[in-house]
Amino acid sequence: MCLAVPIKIIEVNDIKAIGEIEGVKREVNVSLIPEVKIGEYVLLHAGFAIQIIDEEAAKEILSIWKDLLKKL
């Protein structure tokens, strides 16, 4: 039940936002992360966005591991 899925925010109206995942639109309550901007990915849990995904951090970790795995 701690499942949370990444979803792209395409519309923000105060605390109500619209997110899109694989072409499907869903209502997302963003009152827990009010700083969210259109175009950002968030983690959606039980109707609420609980985090903005940090793309830079994601890229950095992936590239570290890819470099390490290349040496195998």
Binding site: L3, N29, P34, A58, L72
Partner: protein, 358 residues
């Protein structure tokens, strides 16, 4: 990036298995790791990770399945409330199938009586649309869900909703981790820590525990990275908290959500299936908001119930046995006819083993 496909690349995944084989050879002894979160248990099963890692690397499933650790009496309270004429129960899906010690479950009630909701926000709409009914939300969960539940309670408070309350069973992760890490009879070398709980509580929440842990995401590559980082710590004899999931988890956690938790709830001793009553291991609704607390509103007398006969869920939840070692597993107890909560919830270890690891 879409944050899913990038972590499911079969080539990278295969290479990770090679890395894990290599480091396990270097360690040269059996290693026991525990995945604390039920979503990890489910995804480890789905990705077939247990069947691809060395036999000496044992992944135990921990107590992080909210439905599984919710005590049997909670189900009985909910059933009694559902029997009342003027009530509507709203709940996340898994909860309706969980039997109490008498093997009764909420699924016997009609769908307009016990309503499955995707978000607790829907409960507020149901309460507004049914002013002559008492609407009761079954608020079950860990730190990922607690702020969401708290936020909905605050919304009901602001709207001065008169026919809404919550029957809560809210658990927090750090306390049982401490107890599991100190169990001399079942020594665990390290913990795959729950990524989404950690978004809220932050890395700092684990530091006082003195455990070896890696906060880990949920896609196959995330999980393999988390396991590998733990094995590196084992090999180097280090004990620290690391973050494999920095795209979502920070050191401090989310302050807004921590504040909601502090505003609405207070720390309490709570009952866990399998672990009995643990001090300071959960949250209850504060006095200020007690009119939204179903236990108070309906004057429910607290009681304690045992487990369904023969159910080993308690031992499964602390990693003492694996689901296959329970005599009921796959015979008397299956997902279609579950005896205990670990077989009911899709995140329960028994259910995940039945589905993915038979």
């Amino acid at each position: 990036m879409k944050f899913i496909n990038e972590y499911n690349d079969p080539k990278l995944i295969n290479k990770f298995y090679t890395l894990i084989d290599k480091i396990m050879n270097e360690i040269g002894r059996p290693v026991k790791l525990m995945e604390v979160c039920g979503t990890h248990t489910m995804n480890i099963g789905k990705a077939g990770i247990r069947s691809r890692i060395p036999k000496k690397l044992i992944l135990l499933s921990g107590p992080g399945c909210p439905v599984c650790v919710t005590p049997s009496e909670y189900v009985s309270y909910a059933i009694e409330l559902a029997k009342k004429e003027n009530t509507i129960i709203t709940t996340f899906g898994d909860m309706v199938k969980v039997p109490n010690s008498k093997e009764e479950a909420l699924k016997i009630f009609p769908k307009n009586k016990v309503r499955i909701v995707y978000t607790p926000l829907d409960t507020l709409t149901i309460a507004k649309d049914n002013p002559d009914k008492e609407v009761i939300f079954l608020g079950v969960g860990f730190e990922t869900t607690i702020p969401v539940i708290g936020q909905v309670l605050l919304m009901a408070y602001e709207k001065k909703l008169k026919n809404f309350s919550m029957l809560t069973s809210l658990k927090t992760v750090p306390e049982p981790l401490k107890i599991l890490s100190q169990n001399e009879n079942n020594k665990i070398d390290g913990f795959i820590l729950p990524g989404h709980v950690s978004i809220i509580i932050g890395l700092k929440a684990y530091e006082p525990l003195g455990i070896r842990g890696v906060v880990t995401g949920f896609e196959p590559l995330d999980i393999l990275m988390g396991i590998y980082k733990l094995l590196q710590q084992v090999k180097n004899n280090e004990v620290q908290i690391e973050n494999q999931y920095p795209r979502a988890v920070t050191y401090e956690g989310n302050i807004i959500m921590q504040n909601i938790m502090k505003e609405v709830f207070q720390v309490a001793d709570t009952r866990w299936r399998g672990l009995s009553t643990l001090p300071k291991s959960g949250l209850i609704i504060k006095k200020k908001y007690e009119k939204y607390d179903t236990m108070k509103r309906f004057n429910i007398k607290e009681m304690e119930e045992g487990e369904p006969k023969g159910c080993q869920c308690g031992n499964v939840l602390i990693g003492v046995i694996n689901p296959r070692e329970c005599p009921l597993f796959g015979k008397a107890c299956t997902p279609d006819n579950p005896i205990g909560p670990c077989m009911v919830s899709s995140e329960g270890a028994c259910s995940a083993y039945y589905k993915y690891e038979q």
